[in-house]
Symmetry: C2
Subunit: 668 residues, 2 copies
């Protein structure tokens, strides 16, 4: 460790906004931030992981021309450190192709790596003896799939026969005349607890003045609090400060969109948070690293807010539940703004039913679009009540946007007249059968008429897109019509449980609009598709989902790290611990389902849907904006197939049904 005199150097976190797959745009932004940092006397400027290429790119890594483009920009960033002016060291993450070697897919070998550059030269990594460093731990869960594309330090250790420890060395950087030992790692390398190899610990044992953790880390509810807990422990143990530098971005893998929230954080030597940058804003934050008795720490940041820290409007309420919904709101807002911008879209059509999902969707879009760019459309049939039609119109008035009411009775009648009773003939001309449109078919006809006929044509004519307003509970069990209300360019609320949709609606009214933008009636009306007489809201009839219960049941299937299945659920039920295991609030499962047969019937109904037709619907669902620890799509990989029940489940089921008497028989 450097034992020089007392003193300080200025280290800046560069919270870069990253456009995935566009090294030229990212590189130009980096050049701008490097120039700014030099002007502000920064000695060391640290960019996030994968600053130049972006990160979630599907298989774009398999295009050699893309790799060459990234490489050319790596050269340009290195050259920028040779420009006249105060000396600066720039550290940035990027893809490093090794054209002389092969990856395990037979393509050119690629690293998720980083470069430390100074005076126009990439410094040599002391452990690798290469002009770059590389990542050790490649995450391979949730939406992450780095080993698909990148080679890593562990494979290099195995290949060369060198101990991994010898490949991990701190960089010796000359900063403000001082030789500093800087431990540089990439994202997952600091999340080492579940791995046998621990890069941060290894570097810590070798002695570092401070650490840089270059990250590309998507927003997930509660992730930042978890990081602060984990890093406080780790950094406190290491006794040297750490800079967590994250990017700001919207990136996707097709079906699932992820926001990268920035929130770059400087941890002092004792593990406490010394400075945190604002969410979803590109900025640099220079901080002084000071040496006392030869030991480095980060000075307190007096000018934090001016330098990209949270301003008064960004500050979230202290209350945990409110803070969480506020963060979800931030993520959705940034995500949809970035997504529209990336498509060059700024006009949106929303089908509004009077219910809460479409109302919250509309209120959120109205936050980011001018009133004449947002068109709300109510599309009533005979089954839509005056109640909900009134709420839809009230919403449009409250939001001050465009509005149209377009009925579907005539067109549905055309379909009914044309298809119901239609004679199907054999090729010899003989009558085979007559088509009869059953009730559930007519429900779907209505839903498809609205989306595929009206909204799709309206959106195209409005030079815009139309939304899908489904929530996560509906997506879980496919409670929506393919090519109907499941159509749209994006499912904005597709990663929010129904309870979160309500909470977000309250948040929008209270914190964003400061008034009843979403009508109170949309919160209190019974959730209903209003597609038949059996779903009449004025008679209190609506969805078959009991959201306070099913939200939590589905959460156990979808979102638990170790996924629960009917086996576990039935065991909890039998043990009397179901309410606690599911975390039910304000609802008692044993009261909802007083008998085992009733409980099992409900359980299997939704399990069959979740693993059956709902998978097929999700395959064709629009992209989903992720805010939870497991969104549908790329973070919830699944196969089309038959719903399965384990032998243990079937045994317990049999026992419970036998105990309940003959009424409860029947196998799933």
């Amino acid at each position: 460790m450097s034992r020089g005199p007392e003193g300080s150097v200025t280290v800046a976190m560069a919270q870069l906004e990253v456009s995935p797959g566009e090294p030229a745009r990212n590189g130009a932004r980096m050049l701008g931030l490097i120039a700014e940092a030099r002007g502000r006397g920064v000695s060391l400027l640290a960019f996030p992981e994968m600053s130049l290429p972006g990160y979630l790119l599907g298989d774009m890594w398999e295009r050699p021309s893309f790799l060459r483009e990234c490489e050319a920009w790596t050269g340009r960033i290195i050259e920028a450190t040779a420009l006249p002016g105060a000396p600066i060291t720039v550290v940035f993450g990027t893809v490093i192709p090794d054209w002389r070697a092969l990856g395990e897919d037979g393509r050119v070998r690629k690293y998720n790596g980083y470069v430390a550059a100074r005076e126009g030269e990439a410094l040599r990594h002391p452990g690798l003896d290469l002009p770059y460093g590389i990542k050790t731990l490649l995450p391979n869960y949730r939406e992450f799939e780095e080993p698909r594309h990148f080679y890593d330090a562990r494979k290099l250790a195995l290949e060369t026969g060198r101990p991994l420890e010898s490949l991990l060395e701190p960089f010796i950087l000359e900063l403000g005349g001082r030789k500093c030992r800087v431990g540089i790692i990439l994202c997952e390398d600091a999340w080492e607890d579940d791995y046998v190899q621990k890069p941060l610990e290894i570097l810590g044992r070798k002695g570092c003045d401070f650490f840089l953790n270059l990250s590309c880390s998507p927003f997930t509810q509660g992730k930042n609090e978890k990081r602060n807990r984990v890093f406080a422990r780790k950094v406190g143990k290491l006794g040297s400060p750490l800079f967590y530098v994250n990017c700001v971005s919207l990136q996707n893998n097709g079906k699932t969109l992820f926001t990268f929230d920035g929130r770059s954080t400087a941890y002092a030597a004792d593990g406490s948070v010394r400075a945190e940058m604002a969410a979803y804003v590109q900025a640099i934050l220079p901080l002084a690293v000071e040496w006392r008795h030869g030991k480095a720490d980060i000075a307190s940041a007096g000018t934090l807010s001016a330098a990209g820290g949270p301003g008064p409007k960004d500050r979230l309420p202290a209350d945990a539940a409110k803070k969480r919904i506020g963060e979800i709101h931030q993520a959705l807002k940034y995500g949809v703004q970035s997504f529209l911008a990336s498509m060059g879209q700024d006009r949106v059509v929303i089908g509004v039913s009077g219910g809460i999902d479409s109302a919250v969707t509309a209120a959120l879009y109205r936050e980011i679009l001018p009133p004449q760019n947002l068109l709300l459309v109510n599309m009533p049939s005979r089954f839509n009540s005056g109640t909900t039609r009134g709420l839809a119109k009230e919403l449009a008035i409250n939001l001050g946007c465009l509005y149209a009411e377009i009925g579907i009775e005539d067109s549905v009648a055309v379909t009914k007249a044309q298809l119901d009773g239609l004679e199907i003939t054999s090729p010899d001309g003989s009558r085979f059968a007559a088509i009869s449109l059953a009730g559930f078919v007519m429900e779907n006809v209505q839903a498809r008429d609205r989306s595929s006929r009206i909204l799709a044509a309206l959106a195209a004519s409005f030079a815009g897109v139309f939304t899908c307003n489904a929530n996560k509970a509906e997506l879980t069990v496919g409670y929506s019509t393919l090519y109907g209300d499941l159509g749209g360019y994006l499912v904005l609320l597709g990663d929010l449980w129904k309870s979160e949709v309500y909470a977000l609606g309250r948040h929008l009214n209270e914190e964003v609009y400061g008034r009843e933008a979403i009508p109170e009636g949309s919160f209190t009306v019974v959730p209903s598709a209003e597609l038949s007489e059996s779903q009449a809201v004025d008679e209190g009839k609506g969805d078959p989902l009991i959201y306070p219960y099913h939200d939590r049941l589905f959460f156990a299937w979808v979102q638990r790290w170790n996924r629960a299945t009917p086996e576990e659920v039935l065991e909890w039920y039998a043990a009397g611990t179901l309410n606690a295991e599911l975390g039910l609030e304000g609802v008692d499962a044993y009261h909802l389902f007083p008998t085992a047969p009733a409980f099992i019937r409900d359980l299997e109904r939704w399990w069959n849907l979740y693993n059956g037709i709902a998978v097929a619907k999700r395959v064709q669902a629009p992209p989903i904006l992720a805010v939870s620890s497991r969104a549908f799509g790329f973070d919830h990989r699944e196969a089309l197939g038959r719903p399965a029940y384990t032998a243990r489940y079937l045994k317990l089921r049999g026992e419970l049904l036998s105990a309940a008497g003959p009424a409860g028989s029947g196998r799933p």
Copy 2:
């Protein structure tokens, strides 16, 4: 190596049909095959990789109850070797959870492993000292993502500090009174060329009488020929025979369905194919392994055909192109049969236009469905010619299935009357703008009316599903309407280029029907969507795609292992090597596009679509049945974003356009 007396033992390949995610079904089948093998005097019965759980299961591996279910069945298979009768050793691949250890995702550690069982006991692996063996090389490309779920021998070597070589040892199996050294590996372990570590070579150096390669290997065009080439070389070098045991299955990861074709193959000690099992049929094939001068080899298989070898009807023509299309046909037929069965579906509705795609789709379904379960529907508008309407009807007559003609003029008129000219108002009631349905919008209205209105309702009323008839060229650039002709339960031809669709049509007429089932006119009519006057087939007008050229251009973008982009394509164009690089046949790109501006305009038009709106369409497209080396979906991961052009492309483009004069200006 065993140096016992001359003699022989009977080794059988068990080409199991695997139901993904259903260990109870697979286990029951295995018990049946074990009993059969005992009856036939088999000493060693080898099942495929992942026989019990299946393989492509999405994230089902994250359910502990599923792992326990698989584990229970592993126990049952082991116990079955203790049943009274001739002693048998059973080797089978399955998931092996290690409940005491963690994987790198923090969940229970899992191996892609295998068990060798005899007399009710799992034999201890001599290298691992565990009652199972594990896989060394986990494929992580295309649709494979094993490291996401499984730990492997390389990580174990790194973790324990033991050399990998010491973890890989042949099993000593007592077969027919002889101690045999059997090298057992799993699938990718034999495809070791791109890896630094080479499990088959390592085992070979340790001396094996013969090898088992338990596989779970999906069908890809030309894969079996490639395997025979690679394995001939490897096995010949090792000098000991190898049994490649593959499963029969349809498995999927949601968007993309893969058939597993079996074709288990026994390679003699010189690397030649001694026996190959039939495609897509569950069977066991016992073969004699004989020792001469202490060296084992496989005796020639006299009873091959009876034991599951190819029967006369399965035999494919010798001609390479015909063989390839025959294999595609086999894969599609097995795939769609299995997919329908897995959903419990046996009725299908197909929209038939008179064109080749829907005709080939219909002819293939008619092969597997009785005539009264297949309903063809022609849905003409004013733009559909008598030519194509006649071809659609002729097709239905030729196939002898149900047929309906349902016009869309009335319903399209309702939409036009309702939306065209519709006044959109501001919330204060003032007029904002009138909607006008442009020509391209009306084209999409027609396409959506057909699929979302008619086919969806008809299919539900027919108690069936409806198909999507898009081909791979259309999917590449999104030349189809979302919620319109891109709707359906499956894109049967979604992995076939247009030229392959034509070839498959010829194959069906010649090899399957032996008559003109698909009307000749459907082969010769110009491909057209017939959605406007500009697509009138009788005037020779149709699709903007020049299939013989664009098929091959798109192939270079989509299917090359190192993906080509406009940069490479333009370089080939400039170098005069484009025809050869794309592999054009019967068409000359320089003739199609006589000037650089014309060539570049076409190139960028389709590149922008492929990387732009077509991605969004593919996210919402139906599942695709894979037959190529890269199908859309899980084997072609992609992000929604902006189409990118590299600096090198833009430079070359500028040079070519400058040389062509001022008419060619304009940037992408």
